[in-house]
């Protein structure tokens, strides 16, 4: 993974000093809240319902044990003993004091971490495939480019006051594990016929009030043009994105209102001036950054396979965990492992400080000190020897980190919702907990198979409900919570926005409604191997509407 050099250390220290000065000025009253607000947002500090919230960056979801231990330390020292991993691969703390944030940032800087631009109308954390570097289907690891974009976008003088936030995601394979089509810029790293690396470029995806899938505007952008082309896109957005209405200010609206052909023309016209200029990436810089992401040396461990068969036979729970949470690796003696942060009845994406410390220890022992956070709010060990799966499982289980549910119905994505968030209209966490409990049995989960439930507590869609196979959107109606169900969303290479199925459900009816949807699916699927999303695409919404609202219903 990337390691700071002297320049990076000095940069982050200067940034912390700058923010410390800004906080002191705020606490002394020398700077008022409306001038301070964008400055604190650009350092990840929000004001929520109960307290401030600090969002720490985990660049492209990658961290090591030392960094994970620091995240645990921050939870213990400055917060209430836990953190929440997010759908953008970051971590959030819910109870920091503003007056402590400069010290928190100092502690983070000591392990090469920061909270730069995790909020604000600027370029945010560049996210990436959580199996990057391990997946067999990759053209190449996309993370070096995420790192280059991270550096280039940090404290960018031209792009610090964009019309709105700007999110970039990168994947390295055709199979999109980074949800690139619902990002402002989505990049797919690929090779052309000559074997040269470059990107397919999508622009204008996003969720929220107006969910839209991105449009592909370039089939192959040579890697050396990455920064020039991105500058062209963001400059056009900075100049022409709407600033009159917060809910119409993302680039997806600009694409929609200008038209993708015209907007592409503007981007390409700007790019012509920038191409071959000072933003062109020299081969040696790409190579130098790529070097940091060289995979660990993986010793042969052929004994893993024989052991695995025996372990699975001896322990059904372990067998289920292997089946669900262990994913193929390009090296046959190895696997990538999902450490589920979705215990049955638990809070999706949360981890206690002791769990974080344990994950750090296990990463050092079994995972070559490499940890990832996925946009599905789970922890990933990308490189684990098959021979080490059983001892790893044994260590995870007692800490509540061994739930065998990756991709299953209880692997729920949920935003913090009205329990924490000042923007929310309804709670998400209790809904997730109840659903998880209702469907918690291993047999039931296995029967249902892959089913991604995503829950947002408001239209801002931080829970990514628009791209859930089953999406739940919490709204406020007549002072009470109500949940709208959408079906058929998906965030992979066949991205789709879920369709609203009908009128919403009260909190005490939501779990039954979801169970009705699930039972409908089970009754009409052609075969146990037809996933929910495939059944939905085959039959459409009507059978589900009939089941939920009665056969006479036609419209929502």
């Amino acid at each position: 993974m990337y390691r700071y050099d002297e320049f990076d250390h000095a940069f982050v220290s200067a940034r912390v000093a700058q923010f410390r000065d800004q906080v002191e000025r705020r606490l002394s009253g020398e700077i008022a809240e409306d001038a301070f607000r964008p400055l604190r947002l650009m350092n990840g500090v929000y004001l929520q319902l109960h307290a401030y919230m600090l969002r720490v960056a985990i660049p492209y979801g990658t961290l090591n044990a030392k960094q994970m231990r620091m995240l645990a330390h921050i939870a213990r020292k400055y917060d209430r003993g836990y953190g929440h991993f997010t759908t953008r691969q970051n971590i959030q703390y819910n109870w920091p004091k503003l007056s402590d944030t400069p010290d928190i940032l100092t502690d983070l800087a000591s392990v090469e971490m920061h909270a730069i631009q995790t909020s604000g109308n600027c370029i945010r954390n560049v996210t990436a495939d959580h199996f990057a570097g391990a997946a067999a289907d990759e053209a190449a690891d996309p993370r070096p480019y995420a790192e280059i974009l991270r550096q280039w976008s940090s404290v960018h003088p031209e792009f610090s006051f964009l019309p709105r936030k700007f999110k970039i995601a990168v994947t390295g394979s055709e199979h999109d594990r980074a949800a690139i089509q619902v990002h402002d810029i989505g990049l797919q790293l690929k090779k052309n016929d000559k074997g040269e690396l470059g990107f397919a470029v999508w622009v204008g995806g996003g969720q929220g009030r107006t969910p839209l899938l991105a449009k592909k505007i370039r089939d192959f952008l040579p890697e050396e043009d990455l920064l020039s082309y991105t500058t062209a896109i963001v400059r056009v957005y900075n100049l022409h994105g709407r600033r009159d209405n917060k809910y119409k200010a993302r680039i997806k609206i600009l694409v929609h209102e200008t038209g993708v052909e015209e907007l592409t023309r503007q981007i390409e016209a700007e790019f012509v001036h920038l191409k071959d200029g000072e933003l062109k990436l020299p081969d040696q810089d790409i190579a130098a950054i790529t070097n940091y992401f060289a995979p660990p040396a993986l010793p042969e461990r052929p004994e893993g396979w024989a052991n695995l068969a025996a372990w699975k036979k001896a322990d059904e729970g372990f067998a289920r965990w292997v089946q669900q949470n262990v994913h193929p690796h390009k090296n046959p003696d190895y696997a990538s492992v999902t450490i589920s942060l979705k215990p049955i009845g638990g809070i999706p994406g949360d981890a206690t400080d002791s769990q974080m410390d344990l994950v750090a220890d296990l990463a050092e022992e079994y995972a070559f000190d490499e940890i990832r956070i996925s946009h599905e709010q789970n922890i990933i060990f990308p490189h684990v020897a098959i021979a080490d799966l059983e001892p790893l499982y044994r260590a995870l289980q007692p800490a509540g980190l061994g739930t065998a549910n990756a991709g299953l119905i209880t692997d729920i994505i949920a935003c913090p919702g009205l329990d924490y968030c000042a923007l929310a209209n309804a709670r998400s966490i209790p809904v997730a907990q109840e659903l998880s409990t209702r469907f918690g049995s291993a047999e039931r989960q296995a029967e249902i198979g892959e089913l991604k439930i995503k829950i947002s507590g408001c239209i801002n869609a931080c829970g990514h409900h628009h791209v859930g196979h089953i999406g739940l959107l919490g709204v406020e109606k007549k002072g009470a919570e109500l949940y709208q169900i959408t079906l058929g969303g998906s965030a992979d290479e066949n991205s789709s926005i879920g369709e609203i199925i009908g009128r919403g459900f009260e909190p005490e009816k939501v779990t039954d409604a979801v169970e009705t949807v699930v039972n409908t699916y089970l009754a009409i699927r052609t075969h146990a191997s037809e996933r929910f999303i495939d059944t939905y695409r085959r039959v459409g919404p009507q059978p589900f509407k009939d089941a939920l609202y009665g056969p006479s219903s036609k419209a929502a």
């Binding site: 004001l47 929520q48 401030y52 209790p430």
Partner: protein, 101 residues
């Protein structure tokens, strides 16, 4: 009857607070000064503006409450959660039963 209380978040630590009868910001909604008529509301608003300008608090708002005997109860669910904390557990208490809101 619907009345108003004044709420905000403390500058230093962001904790949710309410204005009490002594003109201080308290972390307990139950100690809040209840404004029962327009003049009292106007007075609360003025104090809110003053303390915002004095950088003691931010995000100052008048919120609607009703009185249930001795208990002050916000009308909006959001404000009830603000007053009582998350309805779900956290950290080591993540499995605590959800509190009714």
């Amino acid at each position: 009857m619907i009345y108003k209380v004044l709420t905000a978040n403390r500058l230093g630590d962001g904790i949710a607070v309410w204005l009490n009868a002594s003109g201080e910001w308290t972390t307990s909604l139950q100690e809040a000064l209840v404004a029962r008529h327009a003049e009292a509301e106007a007075s609360l608003e003025a104090i809110g503006k003053r303390d915002f300008a004095a950088n003691k608090v931010l995000d100052v708002n008048l919120v609607e409450v009703e009185e249930d005997g001795e208990t002050i109860r916000p009308i909006r669910l959001r404000e009830r959660i603000r007053a009582e904390g998350p309805t779900v557990g956290y950290g080591e208490n993540a499995y605590a039963p959800t509190r009714a809101a």
